[in-house]
């Protein structure tokens, strides 16, 4: 009999390979764990279609469960599509503390509108978007006009 609570806990503690400050549970990528005989089926949602971290995350979760003695299989869930709304409050706090501005509510920009983002270093509202595309698919590149520092913004999708 599989301990599903423990399996979900082990899977949920796996850090994101690109942003190790947050776990996959924080990001809302972990959609659930169900039992299939003696195997734990872990449901994961990719963040972006071409995110190179998808496979890395799936392998890391499988390895974490194997280390915990739980045989597991990963199931990729596309629907409903992952959204930044699934990032937990704890996840948002961790992103902020790590220096990444979390997604802004209502930031699902319409054509040609950029959301207002606060600087995660000094809190200033005076920021500007440098580029909508940053170091990973999920981040945009911003600059703070208050403290002058560049920072990442976790895009809202």
């Amino acid at each position: 009999m599989i301990d599903l609570t423990r399996a979900a806990e082990v899977a949920g503690h796996v850090p994101d390979p690109e942003i190790p400050a947050v776990t996959i549970a924080d990001l809302g990528i972990l959609r659930g764990v169900v039992a299939e005989g003696d195997v734990a089926v872990v449901k994961l949602s990719p963040t972006y279609s071409g995110c190179p971290a998808v496979l890395a995350i799936e392998l890391a979760v499988e390895a974490a469960l194997r280390d915990a003695g739980i045989p597991a299989r990963i199931e990729r869930v596309m629907e409903p599509a992952w959204t930044t709304d699934w990032i937990t409050e704890e996840g948002r706090d961790k992103l902020w503390a790590f220096g990444i501005a979390p997604p802004v509510a209502g930031g699902k920009a319409t054509l040609f509108a950029a959301p207002e983002v606060n600087c995660p270093r000094c809190g200033s509202e005076a920021t500007e978007r440098v580029s909508e595309f940053g170091s990973t698919p999920c981040k945009a590149h911003y600059r703070c006009k208050g403290c002058g520092e560049p920072f990442d913004y976790f895009k809202c999708i």
Binding site: A81, L111, F133
Partner: protein, 246 residues
Amino acid sequence: MHEALLEIADDCLVLGHRLSEWCGHAPMLEEDLALPNMALDLIGVARGLYARAGEIEGKGRGEDDLAYFRGEREFRNCLLVERPNGDFAATMLRQLYFGAFMEPFWRAAAASTDDVVRGIAGKAAKEVAYHIRHAGEWVIRLGDGTEESAARMAHAVEAHHRYSGELFESSRAARAAEAAGVLPRRSEMRAEWDRVIGMVFVEAGLTVPEGVFMQTGGRAGLHGEDLGHMLAEMQSVARAHPGAVW
């Protein structure tokens, strides 16, 4: 049915590969990150569609077989996406034309009768919104920029507009998929495409050409010379080492 999915997968793969050709050559660092980022989105979508197309076809062909071991005449992408990158203005215009079609297309496909297509569409719709915004901003910036940039953007419109009509045409395979509710009707994207292009062009100081003869043929495998050159490079490693795995 699988042929209709191949058309879209080929569009995304070919355009994704074209964008990846800018990696290391973009006019500024931000664009060097932006263009491969969008290429990743497109190639990710293509992978999902190839896998589904291979599954429906039922001949055991996987995504790599479909991407790397089909010849030029077997590719079903539209002519727009295979156009060479040209200058940055041409790349941005091509991206805007394609994105402005795909955004309403994916939104409508999120109600597909096929579970896999529905899943891919839900994600792709969100991503393509970023692509349009990025390309649209550049079309405006360059069209409404210096004399040189405006001339280049106007030239990009003249060179690409003739490939826009094919976006709204449905092949026999596509019509079957549309009748089955797997894909939305391509012709129904016209109004939204016209609206977005019109909005961007007004701000960019560009004119939407009228009475242009539209080139088609991509869905029947009749491509321009450039696609063959692109595929030769893209497929070279896979064909030199068939069956190789990482």
